[in-house]
């Protein structure tokens, strides 16, 4: 069985339903922005968003009213400051309340690993001396049956859909990732369905014995989407647009400028190519 090769609009239409739990993973690198924007265009609602670092992509989805719940471990604009839309949702329930399921990176990594292995919970020596367990009933303690040591336990994460961006796939749908991978592989294998947008689809993947390869039979759909991680990056293709990340701070700070920007650049564009063309025109 090969993975389906779909357009992005088709993939979101087929695989992301209102109310679904959705993980758009990629740790700073390979963040699937195009997919996030398409979810916004298709006006999905009540999503349970899962991502270690919500980043700008979830700031946008939360601000546009796609989310009811967020599972995360670090919610800032890296190196810049706050995610203002996430903050507005938590501090002022705008555009509506957002339930938080908050972890540390190590805890969330363990939850993805458990999900990938179809174990009920992940385990770590963690959360000692922190207030997180007092506010999140999903962080508990478990006793080692062999030594009696008390360890932290977190329920497995098994998203309905995980969406990744990757450098390339072949025509059968095998997916290869280079560079920083974060918990992308674990999030991919934890999901009920995996959708991957890629920079390019090639006849055959170059041999790479120890690169991260997701075999075609765990991949639900592959979408050809150049620039699909912009303004994050795709190692070997384009760099992270750090200036855009700084610029976002000003766009997202106020509801009006945020909505105006999203209307113009996301809702007002047909697809990711048009989104990028609009930004390029603005920069020229």
């Amino acid at each position: 069985m090969s993975a389906a090769i779909l357009s992005l609009a088709e993939a979101i239409e087929h695989y992301v339903a209102d109310g679904a739990s959705v993980a758009l993973e990629g740790f700073t690198h390979l963040i699937p922005f195009a997919a996030g924007h398409e979810i916004i265009r298709q006006r999905r609602r009540d999503l349970h968003l899962i991502r270690m670092t919500p980043d700008l992509v979830y700031d946008q989805m939360i601000g546009m009213g796609c989310a009811r719940k967020l599972t995360f471990s670090w919610g800032g604009n890296p190196g810049v400051g706050s995610l203002h839309r996430l903050r507005d949702a938590v501090e002022h329930q705008w555009p509506h309340p957002l339930e938080l399921d908050e972890h540390s990176h190590a805890g969330m990594a363990a939850a993805f690993c458990a999900g990938a292995a179809r174990l009920p919970f992940g385990m770590l020596r963690g959360y000692v001396g922190t207030d997180l367990p007092a506010h999140n009933p999903n962080i508990r303690r478990v006793e080692c049956p062999f030594t009696g040591e008390m360890l932290a336990a977190v329920p497995a994460l098994n998203p309905d859909v995980t969406i990744l961006h990757a450098q390339r796939a072949d025509r059968a749908g095998n997916v290869a990732i280079d560079g920083i991978v974060g918990a992308a592989r674990e999030a991919a294998l934890a999901a009920k369905t995996l959708v991957v947008t890629v920079e390019e689809i090639v006849d055959a993947l170059p041999p790479a014995m120890n690169a991260i390869v997701l075999p075609h039979w765990v991949v639900g759909a592959v979408v050809h989407c150049r620039g699909g991680a912009y303004p994050s990056y795709a190692q070997g293709h384009y760099a992270r647009d750090n200036a855009f990340y700084r610029h976002w701070d000003g766009i997202a700070r106020e509801r009006g400028t945020f909505l105006g920007w999203m209307e113009e650049h996301v809702l007002g564009t047909r697809d990711h190519r048009a989104f990028l063309a609009g930004l390029q025109q603005e920069a020229a």
Partner: protein
């Protein structure tokens, strides 16, 4: 010595704490600058690990994010994030964890989660990230943050990462494997835990800073060690290296990125 800013002095003082060849888990921001300054001066073989899974990285410019491509391209190896937290950090392979924070208390506990109540926060901060387990497992922890009564507080709004908990051995009794915060570098000098009470006390001042200045900047009655060291001003090499690093970084981050159409 030519004039330097307190920010620069802080970074230089923090860099000097790092030994060559030590394995250092690096937080973003001020710690990242200090760790790379150490690598570019007295500690060329320091092993820098960022939580993005980049191990032994030697960036030419400071990353804006914890996962900039520069970190991967100059790393000895890049491993998945679950591996860096479980097989390296949790396994006890990290000598120094270098963290920033929004708030710190007298026992070196850290808040990076919320100001105000968790369920109705006045200010929602980014949250924990890697910090709780870095603070837990690293053999020792260094913390860098600027001092004010809002950042050095009597009582944290939220304890994100453990320092010495309530002091007097509470951390060791909690089963925390790592050694806890051994130094807090701030813009008047340095605090370190008292050997028994584990309360942070003033142990070093920048030349020109005073005990009164330190006490005025801290939100609890600051204890002072029997002997206070003076932290030497940055050397020409340290300052030139730091300024060149910052200049390269500014230039790189301002460079327009080609939109991938």
């Amino acid at each position: 010595m030519n004039a330097c800013t307190r920010d620069e002095w802080m970074t230089v003082a923090a860099a000097r704490l790092l030994r060559d060849r030590c394995v250092c888990f690096v937080g973003i921001g001020l710690p990242s600058a200090a760790c790379n300054l150490a690598r570019l001066t007295h500690a060329p073989d320091i092993v820098l690990i960022y939580e993005s899974g980049t191990i032994g990285t030697r960036p030419d410019v400071l990353p804006l994010s914890i996962g900039d491509g520069e970190l991967a391209a100059t790393a000895a190896c890049v491993v998945p994030l679950p591996e860096v937290f479980s097989h390296y950090l949790q396994a006890g392979r990290v000598d120094v964890g270098f963290l920033g924070a929004a708030q710190i208390d007298r026992h070196g506990n850290i808040n990076s989660t919320v100001i105000g109540p968790y369920d109705a926060p006045k200010t929602r901060l980014p949250g924990a990230g890697g910090a709780p387990e870095i603070a837990l497992h690293a053999k020792q922890v260094f913390v860098m943050l600027k001092a004010s009564k809002r950042s050095f507080v009597e009582r944290l709004d939220f304890r994100t990462s453990a320092g010495y908990l309530d002091g007097h051995g509470a951390r060791a009794r909690s089963g925390a494997p790592g050694g806890g915060p051994r130094a807090v570098i701030t813009d008047f000098g340095m605090l370190a835990p008292h050997p028994q009470s584990e309360e942070l006390q003033l142990v070093a001042l920048f030349a020109g800073a005073s005990v009164e200045e330190a006490r005025a900047a801290v939100g609890w009655p600051l204890a002072v060690a029997d002997h206070i060291d003076t932290i030497a001003a940055p050397s020409a090499l340290e300052l030139d290296t730091l300024r060149a690093l910052n200049a390269r970084t500014r230039e790189a981050h301002a460079r327009p990125v080609r939109i991938p159409l």
